[in-house]
């Protein structure tokens, strides 16, 4: 299981309905995009961080591991905004408003990511996917997504083991060997995925499979209090942004 999903399964908010957490997490993401980056996105990021580390109980170390790589690439992407092309000072020169634009993008990206991570760190995919049918996603698409989700872990584990076996047999010592190992890894993944699907199909056929994959979903109801509290928090962040926007800019 992947770390974010594993954390979601043991989260304090695991038993809450996904809609509760979606209102809060995706609401914060929407605010990060729609409010002015300064101070709006900064306030959203602080709020999301406080909820993640506080009531949601996500360990800081896990959170950092999850967001450090994407954040690194956001920094790289934002760095391109620091320069301008074909200006009066030469082909490539520093842009006057570059630092401000880069800072705004970084603030917005960080805040929006933390909003989504709040949802991801508290909602296991196995709770979310079956409920998408009620949200209007066609059942066959949800079934395919469920099979993809469950099979991905098994396949990733197989790929890891094959890779280790290849390394133990000096399969990565030379460039040619590395290419050969990688190609056989890709082909093995294909063969194992389709072999597993065929075996699953045989097993389900023996149990009277009629085309619908029925799974048990933990019972949970939407909490009016939680949703109202989330909306109140989002409203407070919005109001505070507009109050602070004048003095801080």
């Amino acid at each position: 299981m992947l770390p974010i999903d594993a954390a979601a399964h043991s989260s304090r908010w695991r038993r809450r309905h996904p809609v509760d957490k979606a209102v809060l997490g995706f609401g914060l993401t929407a605010l990060a995009l729609c409010l002015p980056p300064w101070p709006g996105a900064a306030l959203v990021a602080l709020t999301a961080l406080a909820v993640l580390l506080g009531p949601a109980g996500v360990p800081g170390r896990r959170l950092w591991r999850a967001c450090r790589v994407p954040l690194g690439f956001c920094v790289t992407g934002a760095a391109t905004l620091l320069v301008q092309v074909a200006g009066p000072e030469g082909f490539l020169s520093l842009a006057d408003d570059g630092p401000a634009r880069a800072g705004e993008v970084l603030l917005r990206t960080s805040a929006a990511s933390l909003g989504v991570l709040l949802f991801a760190f508290t909602t296991p995919m196995s709770d979310l996917l079956p409920r998408l049918v009620r949200a209007g996603v066609p059942a066959p698409v949800v079934d395919v997504a469920l099979v993809t989700y469950r099979m991905s872990f098994l396949l990733l584990d197989s790929v890891r083991r094959v890779r280790e076996a290849q390394a133990a047999r000096l399969g990565h010592t030379t460039r040619a060997a590395a290419w050969r190992s990688l190609a056989s890894l890709g082909a093995t993944a294909f063969v194992r995925a389709f072999g597993r699907a065929a075996r699953l199909q045989d097993g389900l056929a023996g149990r009277g499979y009629d085309g619908a994959l029925r799974v048990l979903v933990p019972e949970a109801g939407v909490s009016g209090r939680f949703a109202c509290g989330s909306v109140a928090l989002l409203g407070s962040v919005t109001a505070l942004t507009f109050v602070l926007e004048g003095p801080l800019t």
């Binding site: 991905s152 990733l156 190609a183 890709g186």
Partner: protein, 261 residues
């Protein structure tokens, strides 16, 4: 004693470490695009995804057993993007998998499988994002597969050998994915002086340095994988329409009533 990786000199990697090598450069990060652009790319992607969803729904209703094969295809696409790809310049990245996926499963199906993969990457790995799902799906699940598949079909129609067509299909799919991503970023963040074209040059030159060699690498890898698949999984390739029942390479039309078309 745990096996020692010859590349890093460290102990055996965990699943997360394998997946951390998934380079998110190919995905636009959460919140990176302004709201109007995020919505616009979502709207642009919607017809292709809806078309793919309708194809998938029809396929599953006619052949219920296809659910498992399509799920396996989605898992394969997800795992393929986690493989570490040595570049011809010495650096490393990962294959987009869109070229191989499009040749095996067809572009409409890849629009759905690619979007599901992007959704999982956004929620399980924090790579890409939900607000940028439309933009990322447009580049990786729509333009990449269609460009790669179009070139593959064109070359096959004019009698090119299967492996040559596979190489150029995978090369075009990889490169077009990054070209579209560059254009998306340039539209969102035009250069203060030279506008869209200056920004396209900036983002394009950053991608070109790494992505042209990587597109060559992905083309080569796809050829190697396809050669192994022809030897080991001829039945599945026939079912997918890549090979004809007699063993000859197909031109892309579905050979029988296989699960994925």
């Amino acid at each position: 004693m745990s096996p020692v990786s010859q590349e890093t000199g460290q102990g055996a990697s965990t699943i997360h470490e394998v997946l951390e090598r998934v380079c998110p450069v190919m995905h636009i990060a959460e919140g990176f695009l302004p709201p109007a652009h995020a919505v616009a790319w979502g709207v642009a992607s919607a017809p292709f995804i809806v078309h793919g969803v309708r194809s998938l729904t029809r396929e599953v209703r006619e052949h219920p057993e296809s659910t498992l094969l399509l799920g396996a295809s989605g898992a394969f696409t997800f795992v393929l993007s986690a493989l570490k790809l040595p570049s011809v310049t010495g650096s490393c990245s990962h294959p987009t998998g869109t070229g191989l996926g499009a040749i095996l499963f067809r572009p409409p199906m890849m629009a759905v499988l690619g979007t599901i993969t992007l959704l999982f990457q956004a929620l399980l790995l924090a790579h890409g994002g939900l607000t940028t799902l439309g933009a990322n799906a447009f580049s990786m699940a729509i333009v990449g597969p269609w460009a790669g598949y179009a070139l593959y079909r064109l070359l096959r129609r004019y009698g090119a050998p299967l492996m040559a067509a596979v190489f150029f299909g995978a090369f075009a799919a990889d490169l077009s994915t990054y070209c579209v991503t560059s254009a998306q970023l340039a539209l969102a963040f035009p250069d203060p002086v030279s506008g869209f074209w200056g920004a396209l040059g900036k983002f394009g030159s950053i991608f070109a340095l790494t992505q042209i060699p990587l597109a060559v690498s992905e083309g080569l890898l796809t050829v190697f994988v396809m050669r192994l698949l022809v030897q080991s999984s001829r039945g599945e390739l026939v079912r997918l329409g890549v090979l004809l029942p007699g063993g000859r390479a197909g031109t892309g039309k579905k050979a029988d009533s296989g699960a994925v078309a």
